[in-house]
């Protein structure tokens, strides 16, 4: 297991660094990779002193103030959603589960849409009002769904999924209603519900990072328990797992992680569903590998989607949720096909 993780992990980290360098260069102003490397290394203490700044200040401005924060935020959002999705699929043992299964995205969308509708996005906490409210309404939705699903102290899986679907449709209807009713602001609500990473700056990255770090460490630490759970709930209980406690703690942590990501970027679908599946198809069923590799895979996938979103039709930005589905679905289909073929040849 350990050598497998090290191998996949090294490949993933290398791919992530490559993604970072290449995507930093892409944009309206082209930056050569060598210059990017020098500018980044220059910022690192000790090593930085060895590198003399030979680049233009405007390049450094673009890199440090615009592209780098956006790309790092994309990595964090992608990693958060993918890790949360892996956790959901592990606990619910349902291939269609994603971080939004329990309605957190529609809850967050309702909060955001109401604020935009009433023109209150900058009230109370200034620019942080919208992410804060979106996070709170997302978390509130989780609480309602858990209350609905709870039956005599237990959390049956079908109850969880049904409660999530009910909440999603109900809150989704309200968001649609608000979108239709607000004639001037229709684009704003719509764009928020399709996700974007533009003009977020460093502060959003700083907000999301502690959520990601804590959520990731917790979910990774439960990966052996998720492995046991994949043998069945009864079986796992007989092997020493407190199944209900695991379910509720993992669902709450994963949902809060997803809510934090959604609150800064809007609703970005598909990442949390597809990335863990891709990782599973490549590495196998072990959550000790799936969880960290999903973080890497989600980060890489999101950065490429966002790079496409901001550069393909530049200066127009394509909503990120559109790109994730557009790139993710064919790639996923290819992996499914390859796996099917390999299994047939292996048999």
């Amino acid at each position: 297991m350990r050598s497998k993780l090290a191998g996949y992990g090294a490949a993933g980290v290398a791919l992530l660094l490559l993604t970072l360098i290449v995507s930093l260069g892409i944009g309206s102003v082209h930056l050569p990779a060598r210059e990017i490397g020098a500018m980044l290394l220059h910022r690192i203490p000790w090593i930085g002193d060895w590198i003399a700044p030979t680049w233009e200040t405007s390049s450094e401005q673009i890199l440090m103030k615009v592209r780098l924060p956006r790309i790092l935020l994309g990595m964090l959002v992608g990693a958060s959603l993918a890790v949360a999705g892996a956790a959901f699929q592990g606990v619910l043992r349902n291939p269609l589960a994603d971080p939004f299964t329990l309605g957190v995205s529609s809850g967050a969308a309702l909060g955001a849409a109401s604020l935009i509708f009433f023109g209150m996005e900058y009230s109370v906490f200034g620019g942080y009002t919208l992410p804060m409210v979106a996070f709170l309404t997302g978390a509130g939705t989780l609480w309602i769904v858990l209350t609905l699903a709870r039956d005599q102290g237990k959390l049956p899986i079908h109850g969880l999924i049904l409660s999530g679907v009910v909440m999603q449709s109900f809150l989704g209807a309200i968001v649609s209603f608000l979108t239709i009713m607000s004639k001037e602001t229709v684009n704003q609500i719509l764009y928020w519900t399709m996700g974007s990473l533009s003009l977020r700056g460093w502060s959003y990255t700083a907000i999301l990072f502690p959520y990601f770090a804590a959520g990731f460490i917790y979910l990774w630490s439960r990966s052996r328990a998720l492995n046991l759970l994949s043998l069945g709930e009864r079986q796992a209980a007989h092997m020493g797992l407190n199944v209900d406690r695991l379910k509720i703690s993992v669902l709450v942590v994963a949902t809060l992680l997803a809510a934090a990501a959604v609150s800064v970027s809007g609703v970005i679908g598909f990442v949390g569903l597809v990335v863990p599946h891709m990782i599973r198809l490549i590495t196998g069923p072990d959550y000790r590998i799936i969880v960290p590799l999903s973080a890497l895979g989600g980060a890489i996938f999101m950065v490429w989607c966002d790079t496409a979103a901001r550069s393909v039709l530049a200066p127009t930005e394509i909503p990120l949720g559109v790109v994730t589905a557009f790139i993710g679905a064919p790639f996923f289909a290819y992996l499914l096909y390859r796996n099917k073929k390999r299994r047939r040849e292996g048999a």
């Binding site: 328990a225 043998l231 092997m239 797992l241 407190n242």
Partner: protein
């Protein structure tokens, strides 16, 4: 080892088990038998602490079973279910390693490296060649052996078996029961098994508990429990009971009925 007192379980209005007393001493092999719906599996679930009784109590080594954490229970008691292992992409060796879960700290390590013990179990169950195969590539019999390997890795002192031979042909049934018998002889574990097959139960178990409509209808040595009267009364058939020609255990034979095929219950 484990004692149940006045045990009862109801789901809403329906009572599936009522007032069952049961006790297994250390090293004994008990068989729980009875017709479909007599409460055998429910009794096992209550003994394993995975379901809570609506009446009475279960004590494991003198303490209420519900007062242990799942991890503490799993260090003493292992349970092998009827379905064995669900198909999954994990390999046989990985599943055996999962059996060590109750002994691992949060980093997944334990005091002693268990890999030698795992190898010994693989060897003993003839799984060495299959160790790196995925569970969903195994046949039913192989899968059940892997499931047995997992509970062996758990190193329990009490083993509960829930109809472990249901999906196996007679060759695998015999091999499976022999493996459990050999394990018990070696490490002195206590075994409580729900069994459908009365003839297997009579040969392998020291004592039998027979359930009927959720109550204990008899208990004792196999020849005391598997009597014509008991079988006729509880299973509603006319049996012929003979002695096994090799080991003398009582064996229940069915006799072909008349061709009207009545399914009337009374």
């Amino acid at each position: 080892m484990i004692t149940a007192h006045g045990l009862g379980k109801s789901f809403g209005e329906t009572t599936v088990l009522s007032d069952v007393d049961f006790s297994a001493a250390e090293g004994e092999w008990w068989g729980i038998i009875g017709p479909n719906g007599s409460g055998k599996s429910t009794l096992l679930h209550l003994l394993s602490g995975i379901e809570k009784p609506t009446a009475g109590s279960v004590r494991l080594l003198g303490r209420e079973v519900g007062s242990y954490s799942r991890k503490e229970i799993a260090r003493m008691m292992a349970v092998l279910q009827q379905e064995g292992l669900a198909p999954s992409g994990f390999t046989v060796r990985e599943v055996l390693e999962m059996g060590r879960y109750p002994f691992q700290n949060w980093l997944g390590r334990e005091h002693e490296d268990p890999s030698e013990r795992i190898e010994a179990i693989l060897n003993r169950l003839d799984l060495t060649l299959l160790a790196d195969k995925r569970i969903d590539e195994l046949s039913g019999g192989q899968r059940q052996r892997a499931a047995l390997g997992k509970v062996m890795a758990q190193e329990p002192t009490l083993l509960l078996l829930d109809e472990p031979t249901t999906y196996l042909d007679i060759r695998y049934q015999q091999r499976f029961m022999d493996l459990v018998a050999g394990w018990r002889k070696e490490s002195g574990i206590t075994v409580i098994s729900v069994l459908h097959d009365l003839n297997l139960a009579a040969q392998y178990c020291d004592r039998l508990l027979i359930l009927h409509n959720g109550t204990a209808a008899g208990r004792g040595l196999p020849e005391e429990v598997l009597t014509e009267d008991n079988i006729r009364h509880i299973f509603q058939i006319d049996p012929a009971i003979v002695r096994h020609p090799v080991n003398g255990a009582p064996q229940v034979l069915i006799t072909k009925g008349d061709a009207r095929g009545s399914l009337k219950e009374d």
